[in-house]
Amino acid sequence: MNARPESAAVPGTSDFDASRRQFLKTSGGLVLGFSLFGPLAAMAEQPATRIPASPSGAAQAFPAVDPARLDAWLAIHPDNTATLFTGKVEQGNGSPNALAQIAAEELDFPFDRLYVVMGTTTSTVDQGPTYGSMAVRYAGPQIRHAAAAGRQVLLSMASKRLRVPVEQLTVRDGVVSVGGDSGHGDKSRSITYGELVDGKRLDMTIGATGKTFDMKVAPDARPKDPSKYTIVGTSVPRKDIPGKVTGEFTYVHDVKVPNMLHGRVVRPYGIGSDLLEVDESGLRDIPGFVAVVRQRNFLGVVAETEWGAIKAAEKLGSKRVRKGPADGQAKWSDWRGLPAADALWDTLRHASGKDTTVAKRGNVDAALRGAAKTLKATYCTPFETHGSIGPELAIADVGKGYAKFWAGTQMPHQARRDMAELLDLPVENVVVNWVEASGQYGRNGLEPVMADAAIMSRAVGRPVRVQWMRWDSHGWDPKEPPIVQDLEGALDHAGNVVAWRHHMWVPTYSDTRLLASELIGKPVGQIHLGDAAIQYEYEFDHADVVSHGEGRVGLITSWMRAPGQFETTYAMEAFVDELAAAARQDPLAFRLKYLKEPRAIAVLKAAARQYGWESRPAFRGKQSGRLATGRGIAWVNRDGSRVATIADVVVDRDTGGIRVKRVVVAHDCGLVVSPDGLRNQIEGNIIQSISRTLHEEIAFDRAHVTSRDWASYPILRFNEIPDSIEMVFVNDSAEYPSNGGGEPSTCPTAAVISNAVYDATGIRLRQKPFRPERVKAALAHA
């Protein structure tokens, strides 16, 4: 979060209160016009801060923010700094920069004086969760309109003050002046926004209709002509980085609230085990030990110190490797209901669900029968974990008639509703103070851990900070689902594709059940069915693309960076490559033959140009020597953002190791708001998706996840990173509204690497991850 220097302390804490007092001292007049729960007040003084740490027993209300008011979005301070309030949150993507750039642009306000307050439910509008590469795409226009409305309000205030019509006023860097005259301090000719607002709230109505992503804010505002942009489209330094590289930044992991205890969870031995018995002997000998919290199958410990909680949890069975359901002082039933690992793909094929037809054209069966050449392949992709470097954490303070949270959730407003349901509280009595957490790449455990903390706090009547241990995170965070995909294609004598079939079995990736809620027998959240996570764009004469959406298969699975589409793009783009190779055609030209969409064609061509692509079919024959090199290409359309990626790989025939050496990405997400931020995101997507492709797979036995640390779930290391990641932005212009950049460049990577390995060696890798032993085995059979 781009916290104001004065309010670097955390919402809802006494430090925050103290810094707010300091802020008042240094910026007199701010108190004027405060409403109790207005966002400006909330920015400087969370309502929660006024609540005594020891619960009084009375119900407490934490009202939501009204999006139709200007002060829901914006505050101008006497020192001519400003605060943007947004319900979107930072997850490591740098989105505060992009959103603040949009606001600063419309306000004609200097970016470095604009700070962002995010997420906290009493301070911000519910703009929907921060996921799906949708922050800039959906929240961007909302903020643009709110800020444009703000500029109109400020100009009309200035018009009155300077006694000239609005048309004669200009604004530069938050200073309004007559006819562009900076005034040189002449107060009759110019005035700052800060002086105009004079510490008051901007409590005007700007209007808003609809909800979350679909909300339209300030419909009458007239945003700036994009050709006049001076802030959008520039790279500005992130305000959080100096704090993050010096230890001064406050993550949710660093928050302390008065009277706080430390909690740790003790998860069941098996996913579906029942808790049979808890032997509490010896726990009281642990210094600081407070209590065991047991509710049906939920088990946790609470202590005065973190170390005390860790030791108590370990005694009960919380550890990296658990030998059996009675390993530890808590005894669990011997549940073994997970599919055998090698039966996973069959299990997926036979799970019940609902079919969605993605494409249906011509008669695939007839075309297959009449074809010169037919191909069939199956692609398999495993469970994966988010693996945030900082395990999930939340603080809850649950009393009679209220619940307060400090959490890094990607959906504070939805989490507020979920916590209210879990605790049987009216939603008004719940507040989520949002504080940034370790990076998240979708729905990891940051919502489930709130439920853990809530249950423990309710049980002991004090605030409880719960941090998962590494094995809790790897073992129990919501996973990316495994997917199995069958493909069939056919060519005529001239090497044209005459048939295409792609059937995929996709378990849910939107299972939002809170683990602890299931363990206590009061489920909160929905399981849903897997969606068709594919954008099929090829124009083959006969096509049959069907997604079989399923419910939960074995483990709780939720969205993880380009959920489902990372996997479907792998299968589709690798199988297209198989057909191109079978036709002995250049894989780029082969794709272009069947694509009509201009933006798809543009990214493929831009990537090829940057790379220096020479037309030739893949796999020129076996290379001599231990190392074989190859190139691969693939592309995606993810929700309107198009990305084409080309990479060079080196395959070590002796070890089976794959190194990705050079990566070229052509990226079209329309107008780029924050170029360096987007580059940072693309680099992150590429590195993380190389990691997912080469290394990542959740291992499990019949009872539970067994890859519960970084040794058993390896990710990409420094020695394995590419030599270069080159990026080209396509259609970076105002004609193309800004689209998402947080996920799309993840999608092509697995196909690119698989295709490049084929080019190098002639082997086709159809199952992720491409670990050395799997590659070696494939090479041995080639």
Binding site: P242, G243, T246, G247, G390, S438, G439, S691, F718, N719
Partner: protein, 158 residues
């Protein structure tokens, strides 16, 4: 049973009450309020908790606090501040080498100890030095560039 542990952190002496087997990480974070070092795995696998002990990079999540008595402990806070960042910290700012930033403590503490001992490293040396530190956001390219940028400072230092 808790006892008094004497720790010298960032040049300052502290006496803390803690069980002798408490890992140094929790004493630094919870008792001394130093949030540079982070809990990542508790298994010495990821590096988020890295501090310096007599100038060497160590994993504070597996180092009992009592074992650090009488040694000079340096945390990320000891290398500089927002107002006056150290040269390596400044290089991370210049390269914008952060996404979520949770791993960055480990990157900087590991690289700082490495540069102190190897002031003129190659890019491969830097990658090797950081190979046991994990980053999940995929900021590796920038982290390497930041360390390369800072290395120039070490090279020119007297």
């Amino acid at each position: 049973m808790p006892g008094t542990i004497h720790l010298k952190v960032n040049g300052k002496q502290h006496a803390v009450e803690a069980e002798p087997d408490t890992m140094l990480l929790y004493v630094l974070r919870d008792q001394l309020g130093l949030h540079g070092p982070k809990f990542g795995c508790g298994l010495s696998q990821c590096g988020a908790c890295t501090v310096h002990l007599d100038g060497a990079a160590v994993r504070s999540c597996v180092l009992p606090a009592a074992a650090a008595e009488g040694r000079a402990i340096t945390t990320l806070e000891g290398l500089g501040s927002v107002d006056k960042p150290g040269p390596l910290q400044q290089a991370f700012i210049d390269e914008q080498a952060v996404q979520c930033g949770y791993c960055i403590n480990g990157m900087i503490m590991t690289a700082q100890a490495f540069l102190d001992a190897h002031p003129n490293p190659s890019r491969d040396d830097i990658k090797q030095a950081l190979d046991n530190n994990l980053c999940r956001c995929g900021t590796h390219m920038r982290i390497v560039r930041a360390v390369e940028r800072a290395a120039k400072h070490w090279k020119h230092a007297p």
